[in-house]
């Protein structure tokens, strides 16, 4: 490990772990849901597994951003706390936009 002198290596490893857990979990849910659907059994279970898998998949990068906020706050790097919170805010805005789009025009 190269020392970059700012503790970035630790954050990188934590991020790697978060992303790996999210990837493996969502893939497992999607694979199980897909196999159940193809097998033609457990349609109701598949109807829960597939959306759950997609939501975990979509939430994984957001979790990475949250972990980054915590780390930058711990490092007292307020500029990057602000930047990271801005990214998080934009994702929240996407959720708002998603439900806004749902309303009948």
């Amino acid at each position: 490990m190269i020392d970059t002198g700012r503790g970035a290596g630790g954050l990188e490893l934590v991020i790697g772990r978060v992303l790996r857990i999210g990837t493996v979990t969502s893939s497992a849910f999607l694979a199980a849901g897909l196999l159940l659907t193809i097998a033609g059994t457990g349609a109701s279970v598949a109807g829960i597994l597939l959306p759950a898998g997609l939501i975990i998949l979509i939430a994984t990068p957001a979790a990475r951003v949250i972990v980054s906020v915590v780390e930058y706050a711990r490092e007292r790097d307020w500029l990057f706390v602000a930047l990271t919170l801005t990214v998080l805010l934009a994702l929240v805005a996407s959720v708002v936009a998603a439900f806004w789009g749902r309303a009948p025009a």
Partner: protein, 277 residues
């Protein structure tokens, strides 16, 4: 929207695997291949294809970033700064779609791709790397060990506003077309901002996950994301990415650049053809 049969699910899985593999080798998200395939070959509406592709972009991003964590190729700080621009671009992508005709966007994309390809080939032997450990990478630069050079590569980031603009455009196109956006960011970061290609590709791979998340949330909320079609695509991309990750480190940066330039020309031709030019 075609009904998802077992056969179609297998075709989507295979397409995802090929797109994912190519994406890793080229340092792109793979959506550039998947979206045209889903719309032109399988008859998915563009919005559905873009939604499916965005979920595979997220999957690729998470898998690649998880695999690369620890080798310091990803520049977390620069990535987070540029993500502010990509997510803003992604959000505004929805508004842009209402104002600009799709054919216009496709032509613009084609032109940008050609210009970027020219820049890549023109700078093929240029290396923006400093092999001196004592050079200060600055607040946004970075350093990593590169086996090819046999040393620690240090780089500084120049022209940050340009990187932000490229990221904004990349985020915008990501939401609109269902691509990762690395095709815009990586060449700009490499050619003009002083970032080594591998570091730019790794950082972009991390960024596209967050960028695509905004778009995917909107598509999902509006009912454009079909879970049964997205599942085989995501799984295919995971398999393809996994296979390519074992192979990608053997390709040199020079070949990566040539491959990317050739790919950009192909994408440009595809975009012009689709715009009906």
């Amino acid at each position: 929207m075609p009904p998802i049969t077992t056969g179609l699910a297998l075709v989507i899985f295979a397409a995802g695997a090929i797109a994912g593999g190519l994406g890793i080798v080229l340092g792109l998200g793979g959506g550039i291949f998947l979206v045209p395939f889903l719309t032109l070959a399988l008859g998915f509406p563009l919005k559905s294809a873009a939604a499916i592709s965005l979920t595979t972009v997220i999957a690729t991003s998470s898998a690649v970033a998880a695999a690369r964590a620890g080798n310091q190729l990803m520049n977390l700080r620069l990535g987070m700064l540029l993500e502010v621009a990509t997510v803003a671009g992604g959000l505004l992508g929805g508004i842009t779609a209402q104002m600009v005709a799709e054919s216009t966007l496709q032509r613009v994309f084609g032109l940008v791709a050609i210009v970027v390809a020219g820049v890549m080939v023109g700078r093929i032997n240029r290396r923006n790397v400093i092999l001196d450990e004592h050079v200060d990478p600055g607040r946004l630069g970075g350093r990593f060990y590169e086996a090819e050079s046999g040393g620690i590569v240090t780089y500084q980031i120049k022209k940050v506003p340009l990187a932000l603009i490229a990221s904004f455009v990349a985020g915008n196109l990501s939401s609109l077309l269902g691509i990762g956006g690395g095709i815009i960011k990586v060449p700009v970061l490499n050619a003009w901002c002083g970032m080594p290609l591998r570091a730019a590709a790794a950082t972009s791979a991390l960024m596209i996950g967050v960028t695509a998340t905004g778009g995917a949330i909107i598509y999902y909320g509006r009912g454009d994301l079909q879970p049964l079609a997205a599942a085989p695509a995501v799984l295919g991309v995971q398999v393809g990415s996994w296979a390519a990750l074992r192979f990608a480190h053997r390709t040199s940066a020079k070949w990566l650049k040539l491959l990317m330039a050739a790919l950009l020309i192909v994408v440009a031709g595809l975009m012009f053809a689709r715009s009906g030019l």
